[in-house]
């Protein structure tokens, strides 16, 4: 039996108690009777680290840049500001203040939550409407637009910018537009 109490059944949200565990790492929810097996990791039994700031005791104390009522406990490795325990955010071997960390997240891919994949959109707009070719009069210019929009965008976080798709979409769309212009010119001159 384990002493794990902070886990809930994913199906019924019943919080597992000691009686739910049959053996170390496996058990059955007493509420919905679902068997479960847990791959336990050290973080499961570790307590929560809560940063608690210290209030300024004497006026000569250094104070946090962001909270003047708190004692400075760390120096930001990014900007050198004095920060309290709440504002000193561990970042690898260093500590950073919230604003430095925010700047770093915005500069890198670490904070990316969503990306639009313009190469796939452009290629789809260039190729799929060929099945119903009259549609290409509309989709080819849009595809060209997507090529220009996607060229300077970072693209997929995993597959990179995929410029070959943009090049292919651009070539196909240009051919489609040229074909339409040729056709319209031919009809016009008849």
């Amino acid at each position: 039996m384990t002493t794990v109490v902070e886990l809930s059944c994913p199906k019924c949200q019943h919080r597992f108690g000691d009686l739910d565990w049959h053996e170390d790492g496996a058990g059955s929810c007493r509420n919905c009777r679902t068997d479960f097996r847990a791959y336990r990791l050290p973080a499961l039994t570790r307590g929560r680290d809560i940063a608690r700031p210290k209030l300024v005791a004497v006026p000569e104390d250094s104070t946090c840049f962001f909270h003047v009522q708190n004692q400075a406990e760390k120096i930001c490795d990014g900007c050198g500001r004095f920060v309290c325990a709440v504002c000193a955010i561990p970042n690898g071997h260093e500590f950073h203040c919230p604003s430095c960390l925010s700047h770093r997240i915005n500069r890198t891919d670490a904070g990316v939550t969503e990306r639009t994949i313009f190469p796939s959109i452009a290629l789809t707009l260039a190729l799929f409407p060929l099945l119903l070719y009259p549609l290409t009069i509309l989709t080819a210019p849009i595809s060209i637009g997507m090529v220009f929009m996607g060229w300077s965008r970072p693209g997929s976080l995993l597959r990179g910018p995929q410029r070959w798709k943009l090049v292919l979409a651009g070539i196909v769309s240009t051919i489609e537009i040229a074909a339409w212009l040729f056709l319209l010119a031919k009809v016009w001159l008849r």
Binding site: L7, S8, P10, K11, T34, D35, F36, R37, A38, Y39, R40, L41, P42, A43, L44, R46, R48, P90, N91, G92, H93, E94, L101, R104, I105, T108, D109, A110, V112, T113, E114, R115, T116, I117, S120, I121, T124, S156, L157, L158, R159, G160
Partner: protein
């Protein structure tokens, strides 16, 4: 398989007609990607934050087995009746064979399960539906996460394993 940005693919599973989810790993976190081919959404789980993985049994295997069996039987009945009439079952026999392959494939994949990732603030279902694959996934990633969460015996000793992610 590694990506250009240094991620290694662990799992890729379609969850709908045009939607797939995949799990990738990097030095200090797992990345869950949900994609429809045109928009990708990313969720990161730092190794230090993952508390456990829960594996629950599911009925997926049984549902697929019943579906494939029913389709195989229906196709076989049509093929049998065609043969009985003296015709060649050009359509029903290939379909029966196809559904039989599906049934066998479902059997080969083994029992099904639901895999959940548990952090302190959320419990998230991962795109792993078969127990054997879940076990392989946990064997692959579990020791790495456990190592990243192990506190060094000497508190003065600096360890990169337990450090939070570095954003440079």
């Amino acid at each position: 398989m590694s990506s250009k940005s240094g991620y290694t693919k662990l799992v890729r599973q379609s969850v709908g007609a045009a939607v797939y989810r995949s799990i990738w790993k990097k030095d200090d976190h797992l990345l869950l990607v949900s994609s429809n081919g045109y928009v990708e959404r990313y969720q990161r789980f730092q190794y230090a934050d993952i508390r456990t993985f829960l594996v629950l049994p599911s009925e997926r295997n049984a549902y697929w087995a019943w579906s494939w069996t029913a389709l195989t039987l229906i196709s076989a009945i049509f093929a049998g009746s065609a043969i009985w009439r003296g015709d060649t079952p050009f359509v029903s026999a290939p379909f029966a064979l196809l559904f039989l392959i599906g049934l066998l494939w479902n059997y080969v994949l083994g029992p099904s399960c639901q895999l959940y990732l548990v952090t302190r603030i959320q419990t998230l279902r991962l795109p792993v539906h078969r127990r054997r694959r879940a076990e392989r996934f946990l064997e692959q990633i579990g020791p790495e996460i456990a190592a990243a969460q192990t506190v060094p015996e000497d508190p003065n000793e600096s360890s990169t394993a337990d450090l939070p992610p570095s954003i440079s």
